[in-house]
Amino acid sequence: MDPDPKKSKFLPSNLLNSNGSSHPQSLFPDEVLEKVLSLIDSHKDRNSVSLVCKDWYNAERWTRSNLFIGNCYSVSPEIVARRFPKIKSVRLKGKPRFSDFDMLPRDWGANVHSWLVMFAKAYPFLEELRLKRMTVSDQSMELLAKSFPHFRALSLSSCDGFTDDGLKAITTHCGNLTELDIRDSVTVDVGGGWLSCFPEDFSSLEILNFSSLNSEVSFEALEKLVSRCRSLRVLKVNESITLDQLQRLLVHAPLLTELGTGSFLQELTPRQYEDIESAFGNSKNLQVLSGLWDATSFYLPVLYGACSGLTFLNLSDAVLQSGELAKLLAHCPNLRRLWVIDTVEDKGLEAVGSSCPLLEELRVFPVDPYDLDHRHGVSEMGFLAVSRGCRKLRYVLYFCRRMTNAAVVTIVQNCPDFTHFRLCIMNPRQPDYLTNETMDEAFGAVAKTCTKLRRLSVSGLLTDTTFEYIGKYAKNLETLSVAFAGSSDRGMQCVLEGCPKLRKLEIRDCPFGNAALLSGLKKYEMMRSLWMSSCNLTMKGCRLLAREMPRLNVEVIKDKGSDEIQADKVYVYRSVAGPRQDAPPVVLTL
């Protein structure tokens, strides 16, 4: 639809069509329609609104202030600028998720710069920028820092490309900054000097997260910053901050709702121990706690006073044993979300089941993903224990080394409300360890029982039967991740044919070939993206797909030393911007 210049149309209400029907949109002056639409936040609702008719499309585009783009290559900055004139906050995602696991070349793309150039021209009132899996250079950060006088919030999740210099530009020039969150963006060269560059009178910060920064920051600068920023509610420091330093920060910021500690290992004097204990005791507003590197049973108790209001406890950096976890959880009855490392073992998870009846989300990460020693970590027993005690569970991410069909069947009977079920049996193609059968029945039970399931990751020894189940039952499924599974093309076909809401499909090391790929021809335009690596695709199949579907971008990444015929890594996504121009040589756009 072509955008019209804004014009006001007010027609008297007695103006009806000759056949007696009314045009509802012409009874509404644009101002009223825009007022109503400006109350709608959800971008999905807004997308629906814009499809009603031309007037609504226009009213919507003039009132949209939050821009969400799930794949930066699906549309171009120019198209966006033309359609939406009044954007104040942007959320942009770039690389496919498997880039988090080092499966993409370094310079694959998703560079934010061309977007920033457009934003600087079209949206000088931009306030917020939230990026995920994008490359952000120092040059881009400088452009950002100098182009938007009202800029308030920068959040970078899983991003790379910047150094200390880029962040310095932000902290030096963004005088109204309320949020600076680099969370899990770990770039090797990022030093800590940027923290010292906030101006002396700067005091607007509300959210500060540099938890994965590998370098030290100046504690003096940090302490001054925290004491100046009276509205600070989220503070997540990195491992370089010690316990006694943390105590001083807490004293300056008793209103914190989210805290990420630094290292929890230090030789403290009894006085220091008391001080930190009372600092935590005074932090009555804490809802979220993370960090806790090197926490041990000796120092964990200093936390207890702050735990009663905790809803999210992130222990994924704390290598704890079962007893330590159990003691800690006894103080956290209101927990909704818990992330732990598998050193807590099944015994620790039993404590979860008995202490956290309100739990909705559990993530268990492996302390050593590459260790083949089966005696450690968690098993089906731990998961079962949690499911018995935590009936409200709806999100699970579980890394384990053994699982059974029977356990999963029971788990989903206990907790039928799963929306996100991500089970990773770490040994590829591992069968049910008790019966030696495939794990088909486990995931069949998940698909059948969990009617609200939106995200699923499968693992273990799986045949096409799993995918038949998924296609047949998982009608709300939006995201599916598959690795080392399936027997033939039929598996993938079942999913493509059966799951109407599928948006993201990522597949690796499965025996799906060109026939499977091409069976989804029509489907891919309704999805955000498809990823297939180390499957049985060939260049010929990919070229055929690209030829048949001109509005899909079909990109192939060749591995080193592979032949002309194989398509090692294939990334397919819908786009109105055409093939991208910035692909590195190793990425072929067909």
């Binding site: 696991f101 030789e267 027997s487 090391d509 015929i565 194989q566």
Partner: protein, 194 residues
Amino acid sequence: MEGMIMAHESDLNLKATELRLGLPGTDECEEMVSAAKNNKRASPESVEESGSKGTSAVKSSEHETAPAPKAQIVGWPPVRSYRKNNLQPKKIESESGIYVKVSMDGAPYLRKIDLKVYKGYPELLKALETMFKLTIGEYSEREGYKGSEYAPAYEDKDGDLMLVGDVPWDMFMSSCKRLRIMKGSEARGLGGAL
């Protein structure tokens, strides 16, 4: 010591008479982690002709795959690299680990490492270099850690300050109480303590 045990074993031919569950000749680490390249690459012609050839390709490649005990597949398990606890050695058997504190002159924080995780000095030094972001340099018996800004030292059971590398690794593991990364200039006097 190790040499003596080995000679003894070959006399008794223990391996041949060992009671095991696997077929003779199979390795103990039987759970295989097939490397990515082993994953059924059906021949191009068969793929073009019919996708169902995938099944037979699966079976044949599983047959061929040799057990590779510590083979790592790229991107598997799907764990973010910042979670791989690079700065923290694996605490697999933390009940029996040998934990020592590591301090560095001038740095405000302590680290803790498990000596059992390392197989020898080179691994340990590499880990220290990564952990503290510095270079330690080459060790020599006569001159200690020459030419490097930092030198790793340790406090032993008797409270003496020794240079890391002066004693055999096993002896070091059992006598080291605490590690200290010193400025190179201060460590000069420690070389060749034995």
